[in-house]
């Protein structure tokens, strides 16, 4: 007696496949999940306040009361890391989301329409990319003023325009494939061709770009904190903890730099492994057999 095959929708199937076939990706996913949960439930799971000072307990390396130690005015490092996850992940996610959307839109549209449109648009991108990132960030941020939302937008904008080039190059090579011409010949409209044929083939690249971009965004926030343009207080950020307290006290208390760096690396690792696995699983040609 043949067992009936159950077809699951692809967005459910992916997660099951992830668990079964891509252990590293699953690990990455688990890390991401833990971080997001910690960031969301920070108020509940932390013992101390993130601004709670204690001058008598400065520069503790690690203890039963302070698992990851304390900083230069006795604040608990673990608590600050957990709250820091909120901002860093918020800004990171937000900027990458904005950036990827922008990059995909610009890249695909530019490649698809081609001709003079592509020519002029790419010259605009050229002009933008000829600027060192810091100049752009500093001047736009000083125009908009500091704030989490503004920083997210600016980082997303910069990230998006830069990476539109890569998307465009991949889209260009896809454009020339015979099945695109075939689809067009069969009467498919532009939007349908873009969404059904081009986008899925560009998706793997988008995922790689997105996951790589996350670390860049968080590190850029660190550089901005150092200049006084980072996310303003009160919430701590990993970048701020690294470039301010971490560098200030690197001789006395190296753990103040190590823990935020570890948190950062872990987040980036998790997202990248997850992204890689998703990319591999969603690759249409792989699925197509």
């Amino acid at each position: 007696m043949a067992t009936p095959t159950v077809t699951r929708p692809w967005y459910v199937d992916v997660w099951i496949q992830l668990w079964r076939r891509k252990p590293l990706g699953a690990l990455g996913g688990a890390i991401v999940l833990v971080m997001l949960a910690a960031a969301t439930f920070a108020d509940v799971i932390t013992v101390y306040g993130f601004a709670e000072t204690s001058l008598r307990d400065r520069f503790i390396a690690a203890s039963a009361a302070h698992w990851l130690g304390t900083d230069q005015i006795g604040r608990d490092v673990l608590t600050r890391l957990i709250y820091g996850a909120r901002i860093s992940l918020y800004v990171g996610f937000g900027a990458v989301l904005i950036g990827c959307t922008l990059a995909t839109a610009l890249g695909i549209v530019s490649a698809y329409w081609g001709g003079r449109f592509d020519l002029f648009l790419q010259r605009g991108v050229d002009a933008w990319m000829a600027f060192p990132g810091l100049l752009l960030l500093m001047s736009i941020l000083s125009l908009l003023g500091p704030g989490v939302w503004n920083i997210t937008i600016v980082l997303g904008l910069a990230f998006g325009i830069q990476n539109s080039r890569i998307i465009r190059s991949v889209a260009l090579s896809i454009n020339e494939h015979t099945y695109i011409e075939g689809a067009r010949a069969a009467g498919a409209g532009h939007v349908r061709v873009t969404l059904v044929h081009i986008l899925p083939n560009v998706m793997p690249t988008i995922i790689v770009v997105a996951t790589t971009g996350l670390s860049t965004v968080i590190l850029t926030e660190a550089a901005l904190s150092f200049l006084g343009l980072g996310v303003p207080p009160p919430y701590p950020t990993w970048g701020g903890m690294l470039s301010l307290a971490g560098l200030d006290h690197m001789y006395t208390a190296p753990w103040l730099a190590i823990w935020p760096a570890v948190a950062l690396s872990l987040a980036v690792f998790g997202f990248n492994m997850l992204g890689d696995a998703l990319r591999d699983l969603l690759d249409p040609r792989l699925k197509g057999g």
Binding site: A127, F131, P132, S142, S173, A223
Partner: protein
């Protein structure tokens, strides 16, 4: 093809014009007032007014812009720094070779590492080698490179009383010493930049290896190495080249931290200090010069696509 090249060349001028307008505008958006910044809060209003007039900052914005651009286009004069009152182009000519050398060495390191590890990772997908490669690539790009640079300079001094920070000598005066000085920062910088290259290489190569014409080659009985090297690699290189081109401003201008820590008199540090000091002429002119180089390089890269993938036609 030729029409395309001509069109692109013709468009460089308006592109650069746009760059010049944007950088001029952006500098005026930067927080703070140049003249107050120069005297760091020590002076009174009459002194500030006199300084403002001396630097030509009391003229309307468009006059200042035209003065600057006019100087470049008509006399090849890129202006003087507000701080040193010396010609910017002299300073730039001294510093650019340093940054260029650093950039080239860094690209060499990062591309070599990135491509090699990426190929291995893609060819042996999901094996132990792949995992190791990917973890290393992630680590490389998640470590802030200022942290890495600081560690390279701080730890040996603490444990061995030794430091890889030397007094810079030019390549032309003492090549051996120069390379000894440059190789450490190039390695530090290059390793951190290898991560994204490795990942793009891996992703692109995997893509290509699945395509029809590769399957055809398999079925013809060609060995794996031949397939990878001869057929797949050429096409997979496209996004990699794109990435390197995209990262060029990063190499050229983003080397500030490396230059600062390793005492290299390059353009990165020059530009960064001018930026924070609001030295308008330096930022504007250096940016324009670098933009010209970047635009030119991107054009060259775009044209290289045609060589690697003849199926891409330019309409």
């Amino acid at each position: 093809m030729r029409r395309y090249v001509l069109r692109r060349l013709a468009l460089t001028v308006p592109t650069l014009g746009l760059v010049s307008l944007i950088v001029f505008g952006m500098m005026r958006l930067m927080p703070g007032d140049v003249v107050t910044r120069m005297v760091e809060g020590q002076a009174y209003a009459p002194t500030l007014e006199a300084l403002r007039h001396e630097l030509g900052l009391d003229r309307p914005a468009y006059v200042q812009y035209l003065g600057w651009i006019g100087g470049i286009v008509l006399h090849g004069d890129f202006g003087n720094s507000y701080w040193t009152r010396q010609p910017i182009v002299d300073e730039f000519a001294h510093r650019f070779p340093v940054t260029l050398e650093l950039a080239l060495l860094t690209i060499l390191v990062s591309v070599t590492i990135g491509i090699l590890v990426g190929i291995v990772s893609a060819a042996r997908q999901d094996s132990a080698a792949d995992y190791v490669g990917r973890v290393l690539a992630i680590l490389a790009l998640s470590v802030p490179y200022f942290g890495l640079a600081v560690l390279v300079v701080v730890l040996p001094a603490i444990y061995f009383k030794w430091t890889p920070v030397w007094t810079y000598v030019a390549l032309t005066s003492d090549p051996l010493q120069n390379l000894k000085i440059m190789i450490v920062p190039a390695l530090v910088f290059g390793v951190t930049r290898a991560g994204p290259i490795m990942r793009i290489m891996r992703s692109a190569l995997i893509d290509v290896l699945r395509q029809d014409y590769i399957r055809t080659a398999w079925s013809k009985g060609l060995g794996e190495r031949a397939i990878v090297l001869r057929h797949a690699l050429k096409n997979a290189m496209i996004p990699v080249i794109s990435l390197v081109g995209l990262q060029l401003p990063l190499y050229l201008g983003g080397s500030v931290i490396v230059e600062s820590i390793f005492r290299l008199p390059g353009v990165g540090l020059f530009f960064f200090e001018a930026l924070t000091r609001l030295d308008y002429p330096v930022v504007q002119s250096v940016n324009l010069i670098i933009a010209t180089l970047v635009v030119g390089l991107n054009l060259a890269i775009d044209l290289t696509y045609a060589f690697f993938d003849p199926r891409i036609r330019y309409r």
